[in-house]
Every structure is written in structure tokens, then in C-alpha cells.
Amino acid sequence: MQNDNLVEIEDAVFGYGARPVLKGINLTAKRGQVVAIMGSSGCGKTTLLRLIGGQIKAGRGTVRVAGESLGELDRAGLYRLRRKMGMLFQFGALFTDMSVFDNVAFQLREHTDLPEDAIRDLVLMKLHAVGLRGAARMMPAELSGGMARRVALARAIALEPMLVMYDEPFAGLDPISLGVTGNLIRRLTDTLGLTSLVVTHDVQESLKIVDYVYFVSEGVIVAEGTADEIRASELPYVHQFVHGEADGPVPFHYPAPPYADDLQLGGQGA
């Protein structure tokens, strides 16, 4: 029987050198859902995506995708699993020496023996799905940030993966591109029956499209729930994040010695 959870993370720990980044993460993503991972900058969200993509290995705990434990896979096994994953990088990571068409065709040419006619049809279908069929012959340098991300999305779904991961898909987009990208993530998840993991700190846009949200802070999950539960949450961290308050559990000031000491005011007082 197929497990309902496509991604399962249990007690995952990871650090860069002596600096711990993830300190015991537990997370699941059900098939067919859009799951958001939110948190302030530097809290370990992208590291979590890299863990799920197998680019780094957990120091402790397990990460399972489609029932396969990433820690136990060899390189060939990992590559086999990655063919069922797509990833949208923050700035698209399009191959700058290839046209939009060739970028989307890249995986089809690398991993299939399809004739060029079939590849052409598939690429145009994917580009049509993201509204950029007319940009097929353009080069990445000619695209706006929003267009580049849509092309990267078309590339990520070229092989019809079961899981697509998005690293900050809304960062730096204008309001129109923001809405278009959010709608695309939801629509592609529903129509292709895939699972989407969205790492973001754009609360308002992502709460419109997600099924479930995890909040990460200082390497641990501090809150989770559906979009409605998150909106109604009274947890101080979630409240601060959702309402964009400058100070709270996430302090405005980075830890520092006393202000007066830094300004060398000690001993000169009245």
C-alpha cells in the first residue's frame, strides 16, 4: 500500500562545521499537498530543502522521500530518486548558454531517448503551462526575474516529477508576477498531482495557496498548521511573523554588548 506521506523527516540534525543549523526537525508532506516552510532569514529553511534533495546528509535522524531513506542511497540511487524531483532555485538557475527552449528540454534530452519532435511538443506544452510558449527562443539574459522563475518551473516539471521544491519563489517579484507564481504553484500541484514544498518568508502570498505550514526558527519547528490555523495563531513567534512586527521573539537587535559600553560612555556619566 502506498504511503500517504511523500516526504518524512524524523529528528533531522545538520550543521556546518561546529555551527548547528537544524536541531531535530520533524516534518511530513502529504502527497498532492502544497506545504510551506516558513521562517526568518538564516533559520535553516534552504538547508532543509537541500537535505530533502539529498545535496547534504543529515548528521542524525532520517529523511525519506517516497519511502526511500536518503541516507542509505548511493549516488546512483540518489540520481534515480532525483529524476522524480524538481527544484526551483531562488533565482531560477537557468543555464545561461542555452535558450529557454533548450533549458526546458535539458532533462528530456539527458534522461530520455525521445525523438526531437516529441521533445519539441513536450517543451512547448510545459512552456504553455507557465504562459511562456512565446518566449521559447529567448535567452535567459533577456528574461525578467519573474519570467526566469517561470521558465525554471517549466524545466522543473519537464519530467513530471512527484515532488517539486521551491526555494523562495516569491522573492523580489512584482505584485503581478507574485500572483502568477503563486497560482502556478497551486494549479500545477493540482493538475499534475504532484507535491510541492515551498520555502518562503512571504506569508500573505503563500497562505493563499498552501495546505499546511511549518514554521522554523533556530533550527527547530516552532509551529505548524493549516493556513487558517496559522492566521489565527496566538503563538508569539507566528504572530510576529504573520503580522510583520519589528520586535518580538525574533529581536530587532542582533545580540551585542551594552550600547553605552560600545559608545564608551562608562565613567563619563553625570
Partner: protein, 262 residues
Amino acid sequence: MLKQAIENLGNHTIQGVWRIGFASRFFLAVLLHSGTAFRRFGLTIREIYFTGVLSLIIILVSGLFVGMVLGLQGYETLQRYGSESALGTLVALSLVRELGPVLAGLLFASRAGSAITAEIGLMKATEQLSAMEMMAVDPIARVVAPRFWAGVISMPLLAALFSAMGIFGGYLVGVQLIGVDEGSFWSQMQGAVDFEQDILNGVIKSVVFGIAVTTIALFEGYDAPPTAEGVSGATTRTVVTSSLAVLALDFVLTAFMFRGLN
């Protein structure tokens, strides 16, 4: 102060050894993943265009001028001993044995090596290599190996063209401008240049330089910190390290190839 200096020295030594180890593993990985570069030779051909064909202008022009200078300086020296008819021999041997491979190697490091490092470093900084990994495509096989073999194939061809152009430059100055006898120029050259001792050894040198320069350029790009400063530093290191490597390897190879020759 002294403790700090010793710590820094130790740190640099450890870093140096670590990088040599990483570079050796990288080189082996490139060799092991070279199948793609030959199975899909189109990828390698494309890179030969970027590393080899686009380096042609600088190689040919430099070769011409080096040959012309050799013609002038060689004539100036030889005519003192009444041996100006040996100008062809001097120009050809200088170019085929030494100047062709070495100067072509140095120019290749500056022109193609720096471009390779910058390209790979920027691909890393803009996450193109990570994207490839996530698409289950090995960047070493798809990106690095074709560039490596393109460099190894291009370098001896460029060195040969450098030498040919240099000999032509020497001919222009020596025969056409100064008036050395054309028959002596070519016949003495033909008689003195040995295929195995001179031309083949020159080719071997240029192949070794091609391997060294391309490996250094690829490694520096692949290992570059993914920042503008990191890529810039890596590009500089490529030019400096590969130029020094060419000169050092030239000495070692020359010592082995021409020992015992009179």
C-alpha cells in the same frame, strides 16, 4: 607574534595539502567521468570551439611576432660568426622545442584558462551546477569532462600553429626583409629539425601543458567560493598557477627529453 606566525604557516600548509588532495581527486573524477565527453563528442567539439578556435587570433599573432623577433635577434647574433644561413635552424628549433609549447601554454592559460575558470565559477555561483545535480545530471561528466578534453586536444594544435606562424615570421624578417638566402633558410631547417627529438617532444610538452592548464582552470572554477570576489580570485589563481606550472613542467620535461644530447 611568533606563535601566530607558526599558526598561520601551519594553517596555510594544511590548506595547501588539502587543496592538492582535493585537486587530485577532482582530476581522477574527471578521468573516470570522461565517457560522456567521447560518447557525446558534440559537447567536446563545442568546447574546442570556445577554448581552441577562439584562442586562434592571439596564438597566431603572438607566434608571428615572436618569430619575427627571433629572425631579427638570430640574424644579429649569427652574422657575427658568419653563420646567418643557419637562421632557419635557429628559428625552427627555438620554436618547436621550447617557445612554441611554452608561449602557447602561457597564452592558453591567460586566454582559455581564465575563461574556463570564470565560466565554471559563475555557473557555481548562480547555482547552475546545483541545478544540474538536482536534475540527476553529473556536472563533472556533463560540464567539466568535455572542457578538459577540449583543452587537451586544443593545446597541441595551438602550439603547432604558434610554431608554424613563428617560422613564417622568422622567414619574413630573415629572408624577405634582411635577405638571408631562402634555399639555405629552408634546407638547413629541414636538415636540422628531427621529427622524434624535436617535433614529437614539442608535441608531448604541449599535451602535458594542456592537461596541467585545463585541470588547474577547471579545478579553480569548481572550487571557487560562490561570490564575485571568489570567482575573481579563482580566475587570478588560474593564470598565476598555470603559468608557473607550465614553466616548471617545461624545465622538468626538457631535462628528461634532451639529456645526453650534444
